[in-house]
């Protein structure tokens, strides 16, 4: 509840943030909304020597249309994504999932980029990014890299972002007028999902699972089956392929896999309406 001592610096631009990352090295952490990082620091599970505050970089907070994509700046707050007319029209799944994160206080502080780079398998937004086929834009001293969502999440709380790099934007292909659903099973409204299923139908369908693996999980076999127009029973038969669900007080492996099937079926029913 009382974090260890750390230094605090403010970055004024992306270039400035990259310079500060290089200067402070591995011991530095970027601070955006802070809603994942600060609790870990308060429990002293994470003790960065320096926090580089990027929240004042105005250029990273935006939502814009770019041809067939909607591009969202990494520092855009969940609440802004949730309420954006542009996102609601072209990426209704993403807008809805942003509105499912935590509670209103969290959504007014937390950022989409912060949630994605944290790489928590139990978080909502990584599943939306996977299901919609998003691309992450990462910038470092050597320039810009674009990483597909399915290559972005590496392991538990580990992403493809390398030391010295910063996630600047997320490009989402438009899914205008396509069916979608997000099913989240929780005991309390503001909890992390025990299991969640993000489903995007349409020309580029995808289904991703929350809290079913050591990392945010794209259900590849199921996504391919959906693309081929397979029957729901065939999708359900492969939805748990390659998952590695955790066991905790709320669920066993068996129960989680059962929930994944139930929620996928419900997601289909909702998305097909």
């Amino acid at each position: 509840m009382i974090p260890a001592q750390f230094d605090y610096v403010e970055a004024t631009s992306v270039a400035d943030a990259i310079r500060l990352l290089a200067e402070h090295g591995d011991e530095a952490k970027l601070l955006a909304g802070g809603h994942s990082l600060i609790p870990l620091m308060k429990l002293r599970l994470v003790t960065p020597a320096t926090l580089i505050d990027v929240t004042h970089i105005k250029e990273l907070s935006y939502i814009k249309e770019d041809g067939n994509n909607i591009v969202i700046g990494a520092l855009t707050r969940h609440r802004d994504v949730e309420l954006s007319e542009l996102v609601k029209k072209h990426l209704p799944l993403v807008a809805h999932v942003a509105g499912e994160v935590g509670d209103p206080q969290v959504r007014n502080r937390g950022t989409i980029g912060g949630s994605l780079v944290h790489g928590d398998p139990a978080a909502d937004l990584p599943a939306a990014a996977l299901a919609t086929g998003a691309t992450m834009v990462v910038v470092g001293q050597n320039g810009e890299r674009r990483i597909a969502a399915q290559d972005f999440f590496i392991d538990f709380l580990e992403t493809a972002v390398q030391p010295g790099e910063i996630l600047t934007a997320i490009e989402f292909p438009k899914h205008t007028n396509a069916g979608w659903a997000y099913e989240k099973f929780v005991r309390r409204a503001m909890d992390y999902a025990i299991v969640g299923v993000a489903l995007q139908l349409g020309s580029q369908p995808g289904v991703a699972l929350v809290n079913m693996s050591n990392k945010p999980h794209l259900a590849e076999s199921a996504s391919q089956a959906i693309a081929k127009g397979a029957a729901i029973s065939d999708v359900l038969a492969v939805i748990n392929n390659n998952t590695n669900p955790p066991e905790d007080l709320n669920a066993t492996v068996e129960y989680r896999q059962h929930l994944a099937r139930v929620l996928t079926q419900r997601a289909f029913a909702t998305a097909s309406k």
Partner: protein, 770 residues
């Protein structure tokens, strides 16, 4: 117009909702320092050594103490002699969260950094983290002086074997009453300043005089220069009537370093160091006939006391067994209890303290009888209720002499709100439709013992006495200040007492203040716990106000040259009944009450001050009838409360808004126990629910709306007729919720599910039934 019974807005709220409340942590006297604990990470271990050198060397650190620094000090008050908790663990730690060392530094960050530098070398011992482990043959013993882990065993006087053998039917349940962490929004916080003029301790506490008396005795210092202040307090739920090591450590450290020392518990510490509640297991049997009439009840309560048995904790099974029969006429009742120590956080009072456990078990048994006989659960209740003409009703327990009640009346009122027959049809229809959610309807006719109270009742828990003090002091302008020994921490006592006094004194509600929580200001006091603030303290306010009013009438009569018996009051004006044109205002009566020349013969200045130590002859017995309707998702096992109908009989209602608030809050905690909260330990004694991510306190969005109703059977033990309502919801809600869940699943042969009813438990049952 009478203010008692009016929906008056709380006097407390403007400050609290604008962030202007003043809690202990808000206080920052000059030179204030900060204390931080090093707490045991082991459930049971010998302490080989504690290395404090690095911590002491950190700039800003003023003191580092281990048990070696306080070897001369007695153990923490409130425990049992020989089994009590040291202020800091001596050679052995007995639960995760026990204090091992403290650091004081110039600020809290430095203190926390220093605490992290302290190295404790533990030699782990086998731990017992459950009742069954603690009672197993060959189990490791926590306190050698006991020779085992049972602190006290009270056997049956008569186990009723013949009654059970001869009964047409019998049924039994083993029931676990899940351990809960009280989790008030404000954790334990205290601030000690021990200077030349004495010791002042600000503490988030429910009974400041009790703490003042204890801390003075502990240090051997006089009470006149020992002051305890409980300013705004953010909830307690019984957990803040326990003496905890931080009170004594901050005091002594303040004396040692010559500066104020503050301790603010972290949320994580609060879950393991603040005393827990419930943690009972019951073995319950009933004998009954084919019509569902109960012939006998037999109950054994096994109470988990945690690592250090506490006086209040030892009282829990006494209260549970006293109330074992609930609102039913049961010809033969046999009770037995056992107190057991385990390597877990000590257990003491938590909203309801022993009574929720009693009502839960008897109400589960009533539904079991209904299930066994096929008689409707509502009808089983009716057939066994103590009838209204049977009061006063002597129970099996000398503690519980029921003085009043109308249990059938509450159930009748409840059924006006619940469309029971329609719900039963709907339940049957849904059972036939595999796609439909299952419906369950659960009832609880609950009764509790409250209004602690009668002489001897609180003395048994170490308090000075069981009265409550009230002092009414009229100011020269005719406004009134009331000083109470009750110590509110969310109850709205400032408002309800002003309502009571306004009616008695004829003074405007807005010109009445209520002061509490400061031993230097309030003459004497006991505190707020056991739903006693209105039933005992409020009665005291009424008595004292009435005495002041009688003297005020005498002064008014003198000024009006009339007889006191003829004086009445309206709009703060005294006049002779029937002649309002000639009147004397309260302000003038008040002013002149301080002027000897204006007083009637024989009266002295100060006649409009009255102090009362209010006694009551008996406990109070709040009761009610609740109904919970749940839906169960057959695929996921999730339980959703569709409706919660609540009929309370708390006697006279002082303020309906506050009664509803208490019922809503109590029911929320009851639902929390039934569906969400469970303080769990792994077999080695490590808490598995040590953060609010795992220990699931529900929020408003997780709770249903409530439909509340009321009947009024006045409390015969005070003139207000009020019984208290603070604990009612937490007594009545758990059985209503669990009865509803079991009802929804009864067609599958389900007889009982232990709390909390989690989705995975229900899913496993549904899977097992396939």
């Amino acid at each position: 117009m009478s203010l008692v019974g009016a929906r008056v807005l709380r006097k407390e709220d403007p400050n609290l909702i604008t962030g202007n409340g003043q809690y202990v942590d808000d206080l920052q006297p000059a030179g204030c320092t900060s204390m931080v604990f090093v707490r045991s990470t082991e459930a049971h271990a010998k302490i080989r050594s504690i290395d404090t050198a690095e911590a002491l060397a950190l700039p800003g650190v003023l003191a580092v103490w281990t048990s070696a620094n306080i070897a001369q000090l007695a153990n923490c008050p409130g425990g049992l002699p020989g089994l009590d908790q040291p202020l800091l663990a001596k050679d052995v730690v007995r639960f995760v969260g026990e204090g091992v060392a403290v650091v004081v530094a110039t600020d809290r960050y430095i203190a926390a950094d220093a605490a992290e530098l302290i190295v404790v070398d533990y030699e782990p011992l086998p731990a017992v983290a459950s009742l069954s482990a603690a009672m197993a043959p060959g189990a490791v013993v926590l306190h050698e002086v006991l020779g085992g882990n049972t602190v006290h065993f009270q056997d049956f006087e008569n186990p009723l074997d013949e009654v059970f053998a001869a009964a047409p039917r019998t049924a039994s349940l083993h029931i676990v009453n899940n351990r809960c962490a009280p989790t008030p929004i404000e954790p334990n916080v205290c601030l000690a300043d021990w200077g030349r003029s004495g010791l002042t301790l600000w503490a988030a506490f429910q009974a400041p005089h009790h703490l003042r008396n204890t801390i003075a005795q502990y240090f051997g210092i006089p009470q006149d220069s020992t002051r305890v202040v409980a300013p705004d307090v953010g909830g307690g739920f019984g957990a803040k009537i326990n003496f905890v090591p931080e009170f004594f450590l901050t005091a002594l450290l303040s004396k040692e370093i010559g500066k104020p020392v503050k301790y603010t518990q972290t949320r994580s510490e609060c879950l393991v160091a603040m005393l827990h509640g419930r943690a009972q297991e019951h073995d319950a049997s009933v004998a009954f006939d084919n019509d569902g009439r109960i012939l006998a009840l037999k109950l054994t309560v096994t109470q988990d006391q945690g690592a250090y048995p506490n006086g209040t904790g030892m009282g829990l099974p006494v209260l549970t067994t006293a109330m074992a029969a609930g609102c039913y006429r049961i010809p033969a009742v046999a009770i037995s209890w056992r107190n057991v120590v385990t390597n877990t956080t000590p257990v003491a009072a938590y909203r309801g303290a022993g009574r929720p456990e009693a009502s839960y078990t008897i109400e589960r048994l009533i539904d079991l009888i209904a299930d066994e006989t096929g008689v409707d659960p509502v009808e089983v209740r009716r057939r066994n209720f103590i009838p209204v003409d049977a009061f006063p009703y002597a129970t099996h327990s000398p503690l519980a002499m029921y003085d009043s009640g109308n249990f059938a009346g509450a159930l009748d009122e409840l059924l006006k709100h619940v469309n029971y027959e329609e719900l039963k049809k709907e339940q049957e229809k849904r059972r036939q439709d595999p796609a439909a959610k299952l419906l369950g309807i659960g009832f609880a006719s609950w009764l509790e013992i409250a209004g602690f109270g009668p002489p001897g009742s609180l003395e048994a828990f170490g308090h000075l006495a069981s009265w409550e003090s009230a002092q009414v002091r009229i100011q020269p302008d005719g406004s009134a200040i009331i000083f109470t020994g009750a110590s509110p921490h969310g109850q709205g006592t400032v408002t309800t007492y002003a309502q009571i006094a306004a009616d008695e004194l004829g003074i405007d509600f807005d010109r009445i203040s209520v002061k509490h929580g400061d031993t230097a200001v309030v003459p004497q006091g006991i505190g707020t716990m056991g739903s006693r603030a209105v039933a005992v303290g409020g009665e005291g306010v009424k008595t004292a106000s009435g005495r002041v009013y009688e003297n005020a009438k005498r002064i008014a009569a003198h000024l009006l040259e009339a007889s006191a018996e003829d004086i009445v009051i309206e709009d703060e004006k005294f006049f002779v009944k029937g002649t309002p044109a000639r009147s004397v205002p309260w302000s003038e009566v008040a002013w002149k009450s301080f002027q000897p020349l204006e007083l009637p013969g024989g009266m002295e200045p100060g006649a409009l001050d009255s102090t009362v130590f209010q006694q009551v002859p008996n406990f109070s017995f709040p009761s009610g009838a609740y109904c919970c309707v749940v839906e169960i998702d057959r695929e996921t096992g999730a339980v959703n409360i569709v409706n919660m109908y609540l009929v309370d009989d708390c006697g006279t209602v002082i303020n309906p808004l506050l009664v509803e608030g208490q019922v809503h809050g109590g029911v929320a905690q009851g639902i929390a126990q039934a569906l969400y909260e469970h303080m769990l330990y792994d077999p080695s004694g490590v808490p598995r629910t040590s953060t609010l991510m795992d220990y699931l306190v529900p929020a408003a969005s997780d709770l249903p709306g409530y439909i509340t109703g009321r009947i009024n059977t006045p409390n015969p033990s005070n003139t207000l007729g009020a019984k208290g309502v603070g604990e009612s919801g937490s007594v009545g809600a758990p059985p209503a919720v669990v009865n509803a869940v079991v009802d929804a699943l009864s067609h599958l042969g389900v007889k009982h599910i232990d709390m909390p009813v989690t989705p995975i438990k229900v899913w496993n049952i549904l899977e097992g039934a396939k």
